[in-house]
Amino acid sequence: MTEGTDLVTVPAGETSVGAGTAPEPAAGATPVLAEAHTHPAPRQYVLIAVVLVILTAVEVATSYLEGNVNSNLLIVALGVMAAVKFFLVVAWYMHMKQDSHVFRRLFLTGLILASVVYGILLLFFSSTVLKS
């Protein structure tokens, strides 16, 4: 909530005082996107939702195959489907696809860091590595 409403913005790029010219974007700034116009239309959102629903159904169905197929294969399949759902929500509903690359980089940094660190962590406890 705090983040959502604390809309204080100090325009660092404000050059009006002294320069007397219109504000110019700060050096290194990416071209500004008029977000409202590039967000997809509701129809697309619904389409994504349909895909998500189908994927969920397939996921649940897949989980019932337990015992009939190789469980590693099952885990990989479920993991891939979860990742696809994750990607769809992040890319479309959270607008990462259209929004500035800054968000993508930051979020991916956290995500990759989490996966790598916790991946190594779990690897620790696998019987081959943890052997005193």
Binding site: T9, Y93, D99, S100
Partner: protein, 214 residues
């Protein structure tokens, strides 16, 4: 007369219908949006810790057999339905945003309420599930499944609850007429949080309910 504007952010001060602050910043993105994304990437490490703890301890209850095991407890059809509801709340959330962006405040309120309602349904399902498991003998200390399951899903549920309260606050602001279209970013930011909580559930659902436990 010179007016060196420092704070143009709050809606009351925003110059004529110009909600997009991106012109003002070095990266071209607004401060609050940048902040929420940073916060969410931090949350990734928070949930990552609990999910990896869940994976580490998964199956250890067979070693220390005590109490009911997940394959006896989990009601996959039921949780699939509540997961589906949560997934749909993401759709309504994004529709709410689309509504305010085109200035449709009536639909904004409807979709916001729908999102909160879906979220509440999900949390309600979780409460039902918790009580059901508790009735069947699974407590926090019964076995490692009890320990990891309740804490991981409980913390997620707490996040959803915070999200519901947040959405209701946004909704009440809109009802009071304090949420003009220029301030659509307030909805967008609440939405980012909401979607994040949803995608965390995508993984938790797969990890706990779908992946076989042995």
């Amino acid at each position: 007369m010179a007016q060196a504007v420092v704070t143009t952010g709050s809606s009351e001060l925003a110059p004529g219908g110009h909600a997009d602050h991106s012109h003002d910043t070095n990266t071209g993105v607004s401060n609050p949006k940048l902040a929420i994304w940073l916060f969410l990437s931090s949350e990734a490490l928070f949930f990552g810790a609990f999910i990896s703890t869940y994976f580490l301890y998964r199956g250890r209850d067979t070693q220390f057999l005590k109490g009911p095991t997940p394959d006896k407890l989990l009601n996959i059809p039921f949780t699939s339905v509540t997961s589906f509801v949560l997934l749909m709340s993401s759709l309504t959330m994004v529709l709410a945003l689309a509504a305010i962006q085109r200035g449709d405040h009536r639909r904004l309120r409807i979709w916001l309420l729908a999102t909160a309602l879906f979220g509440a349904t999900f949390v309600g399902g979780q409460v039902y599930e918790f009580t059901e498991f508790y009735r069947q003998g699974l407590h926090l200390g019964t076995n490692m499944f009890g320990t990891t399951f309740f804490v991981l899903t409980g913390l997620h549920g707490a996040h959803v609850t915070v999200g519901i309260v947040w959405l209701l606050l946004v909704w009440s602001r809109s009802m009071q007429g304090r949420l003009p279209s220029e301030k659509s970013e307030a909805v967008e930011i609440a939405g980012l949080y909401w979607h994040f909580v949803d995608i965390v559930w995508i993984f938790i659902f797969t990890a706990i309910y779908l992946i076989p436990t042995h």
